[in-house]
Amino acid sequence: MAMFSSRNWREYPQRYRMEASRFKKSGKTYFPPRTVDPETGDTKQEMVRLPEIGKLLTYTVIRVAPSMWGDEGPYALGVAEMTDGTRVMAQITDCDVEKVKIGMEVRVEFRRIQSEGSAGVLSYGYKFVPKWF
């Protein structure tokens, strides 16, 4: 079995704090961070954190879910454009899946993303919730 704990742990800065890379030359922000700016080839960058508010560009409702998410199905999944223009894919939780819409405003919340069975490691990270306040 693949060791999920180390793979997940490595991504903590992104999953927990949404750390992205902003390149000096182009000023472009990439999430997840990249070593090389695809636009300029620049490698000089600084860490920035993504804003917590975004707007859905697209979404789906997964109705036939992998067993890992069987207890949570059907669940919504979407791509949001955050207020800084970066794009993030995440589940949309705490919502009526029949009411999710393109253009809907979402807020990032810290949630449990996966459980490696009942005895394995828990993984946490960002999900979207409909922005209501």
């Binding site: 793979r7 991504e11 992104q14 990439y30 997840p32 560009l57 697209t58 979404y59 789906t60 409702v61 997964i62 109705r63 036939v64 879910a65 992998p66 067993s67 998410w69 669940y75 999944l77 979407g78 791509v79 794009r87 993030v88 894919m89 995440a90 589940q91 393109i102 993303i113 996966q114 993984s123 990270g125 999900k127």
Partner: protein, 386 residues
């Protein structure tokens, strides 16, 4: 570069082939291709295979296939680019013959997908997406294409009926194809009434899980002529990539790699897209066929859905797409699909398409478009009758 030709084709049984293993499926297709072409040896072998390691815990597929073809010793390698693995195998064979390094190369593809649980198959296929930033969050392949579909519907007014029309057309064609996994007709109502997998995609918008293999013999024109059978030329080959994750793309409603791959393939020829008369396209989901039609420049964005509804891509339409039944009806053993697309174009160009699906008017030029993941890779081949 010299002219490269396809001189023989072979396919295993496709579907839930419980009595054949990975290696047997390959050998079935390979033996048939060798027999069909009349070649007496191979100089090398490429096997397109996406995920035998996850499906049946078997890696090292190039050697395995050469061995069980009775040709241990043969230069052989597996190539992988998710669902575009087969297309890449064809491209590698094309390049090897074009360069003059080899005379007779087999391009093949194989996938044995039913020897694992549905969950494991889903997980293996999900390897074609961004594992950490898509799959981790619960994305499945239908889910990713569903997001492309929603964005496309929102932006261009594409409807569920237009998506369903792709499935209806491909099933109609596949019903005439003896190798098709699901050779039956479906109606728009049946597609729209089938189980929703990931909104707005129903189960009948999705290609199936399939066991199967396909093989073609790629060779120089000199050898092809000597064999004395009808053959076709590969006049263009293009490959392109894109971001692995759809969130990273400027335009979620397009698959840029398909257009780039076609442009590169056309550049090798003195042909334009308007010279191409029909295509096999990667309809892993109905929306994929629509988006690819637009992304390669066949239709303006938003015009592909209405064109499918109007029958423009039917067998008797102005640009038939997926006369084989496509991935939807014929089946989608991921590594084999790109090779099987070439087989269908070969059949159409040589007048060998069975069951009444032979295109009218003896077409001269056809193309294949095969892609990996949500289009993070795309391989295009243009074939012309010799």
């Amino acid at each position: 570069m010299r002219e490269v030709c396809v001189v023989g084709i072979g396919m295993s049984k496709w579907g839930e082939v419980w009595r054949r293993s990975l290696r047997q499926l390959f050998v079935d297709a390979a033996m048939e291709a060798i027999k069909d072409s009349g070649v007496d040896h191979l100089d090398s072998l490429y096997v397109g295979c996406m995920s035998s390691g996850m499906f049946v815990q078997q890696e090292h597929v190039g050697a395995l296939c050469a061995d069980y073809l009775g040709m241990a010793g043969l230069p052989a390698a597996r190539v992988e680019s998710a669902c575009a693995s087969g297309g890449i195998a064809v491209r590698q064979a094309f390049l090897e013959v074009a360069s003059g390094a080899s005379e007779i190369v087999m391009a093949s593809g194989v996938e044995k997908m039913t020897d694992c649980s549905g969950d494991d198959a889903t997980s293996a296929l999900a390897g074609a997406a961004d594992q950490e930033y898509e799959v981790f969050h619960g994305a499945t392949f239908p889910g990713l294409y569903a997001m492309i579909a929603h964005a496309h519907m929102d932006r261009y007014g594409t409807t569920p009926e237009m998506l369903a029309a792709v499935s209806v057309k491909n099933h109609h064609n596949g019903a005439m194809n003896p190798v098709a996994q699901y050779p039956f007709e479906v109606s728009v109502d049946r597609v729209l009434g089938s189980v929703m997998v990931a909104d707005p995609l129903h189960i009948l918008d999705c290609s199936p899980i399939t066991d199967g293999a396909a093989a073609v013999i790629v060779t120089s024109e000199e050898v092809a002529r000597k064999l004395g059978k009808p053959y076709v030329k590969i006049i263009g080959s293009g490959l392109a990539t894109d971001t692995i994750a759809i969130a990273q793309r400027d335009d979620i409603t397009a698959i840029k790699s398909a257009g780039m791959a076609l442009d590169r393939a056309l550049k090798m020829t003195n042909r334009k897209l308007s010279d191409v008369q029909f295509a096999e396209m990667h309809d892993c989901f109905t929306i994929a066929e629509i988006v690819v039609m637009e992304s390669i420049g066949l239709y303006k964005p938003g015009q592909a859905g209405p064109a499918v509804l109007a029958g423009e891509t039917a067998l008797d339409g102005k640009f038939p797409i997926n006369s084989s039944g496509g991935l939807k009806s014929k089946g989608h053993p991921v590594g084999a699909t790109g090779v099987a697309q070439v087989i269908e174009v070969f059949k159409q160009l040589t007048g060998r398409a069975e069951g009444g699906r032979q295109l009218p008017g003896s077409p001269k030029i056809g193309m294949t478009q095969n892609m990996g993941g949500t289009g993070a890779s795309s391989a295009v081949h243009i074939l012309e009758v010799a």
